[in-house]
Homo-oligomer: 256 residues x 2
Amino acid sequence: MENRLIRKLELFGPLPDSDKKLLDDIVKNSQIYAAHTDIISEGDIPTNVHLILEGFACRYKNLANGTRQIMAYMLPGDFCDLHVFVLRQMDHSIGTLSQCDVVDIPRPRILEMLERPALARTLWMATLVDEATLREWIVNMGRRGPAKRIGHLLCEINMRLKMVGISIDGRFRLPITQVELADTMGLSNVHVNRALMMLRKRDLITLEKQEVVILDAGKLEEFAGFTPNYLHFSGGKEEQSRSSESLSIVRTKASA
Amino acid sequence: MENRLIRKLELFGPLPDSDKKLLDDIVKNSQIYAAHTDIISEGDIPTNVHLILEGFACRYKNLANGTRQIMAYMLPGDFCDLHVFVLRQMDHSIGTLSQCDVVDIPRPRILEMLERPALARTLWMATLVDEATLREWIVNMGRRGPAKRIGHLLCEINMRLKMVGISIDGRFRLPITQVELADTMGLSNVHVNRALMMLRKRDLITLEKQEVVILDAGKLEEFAGFTPNYLHFSGGKEEQSRSSESLSIVRTKASA
DNA sequence: CGTTGGTTTGATTAATGTCAACGCACGTGG
DNA sequence: CCACGTGCGTTGACATTAATCAAACCAACG
């Protein structure tokens, strides 16, 4: 199977063959996590970096009042904790939604990656897109009603999956219950259900047995106010001309 | 006046004197922006990095339906667009809320900073805290009612201002209208008002003429479910022992 | 003074949550 | 093979919460 990670990263700019070889290497030692399992929990001290190869995972927090909030989805090709080097403690948990195939990358391996300019730049960019996605989610929760909110999420997931070759023709598997969708959107499960019904009644989507079909991407995007600019992928054409200096992150000697 | 930037960055770890000197230098050429002025707008191609020295700024988006959503506050000591090097286009706007004193840092200057290991690590850490803050805001919007939501925000702002020596004794100026608060919290201005009244009636805060007093930080934090772990400042003690290798980001030769 | 921008309040409407029940598909064990 | 339990989705009735509309108020400022 094609390496999804390479496919995703190259959307942000081409990588030399040597970098791709490294990535191919890294992806070899993967491990299956069952659905609804924590990969790392709030309070843990992170050690390795995790990379999702297959399946859906999420960042989430459980609140004191018994509710929970999902703050991000991690799809195939996404890194979980590149911040391993800087933050001493997880301030949230990462868990699987479906069964996942996950690579556990030891720190030296990451440093090896960061020593390569093109790769380092690309990883940085992926991180910034994650951040932009968080901002868009805030917009979504703050200023869009339930149906548009869910529609927007579906547009985003569709686009992100398309970037790694999983969504085809607006059709993809969404291995998530409506309760989990509710915990993502800040709504009740009942209301999520009604919003989904409404999206169906308007012929914007189809959804059965966790199989989503976006019937008309344009119509759904317009309905939900979805603009993909925050994903910054744009075929990567203008990307190249930008920033005449490229960056690499290299290891220096220990300070302690 | 003390350099707020240095004060903030050193919460994440000590900096060598040479780094502090560089920061002192950088801060010299600042510029005043009037209240409610864009520093940079959605769609713009970012060039320089901006640093807030004084005043409140925010990231925001205007939506098609005429509403807007504020996604982050930038307080004194905060950088606005460290992503300048990687993303080609702003996917949101940054504007002042109050009058602001802003430094405009040219790219080479930033590279100079990133060449210094301690400084680079610290800047990276600040970026990660920004990201964690975005996640916490999602939790806030998704799973906390209006009064708790606003209370949580006030706790956060108080703590962040305290970190740079602006908030003293839970007392600080919040140069923001209730409409802007509403655009931050995803609520109507009327409802924000009622929630504020409620916080006052419970003797959790005082607020007049944009002067906030948190009457009992512990009580407010408990009420709002505020846990500051996501700000990762913790006096920076354990921070040091973490990550035996430190990182620096250095310029490499141009790729184009 | 009169105007302006922001806050506060009340009345009403609309949106969302909660509670409870039912249905359906699936798997399990008798 | 069937009875049963379980998890999820769906629906309706109702309670609660928040938005909207409108007006009054208040301090600052020309």
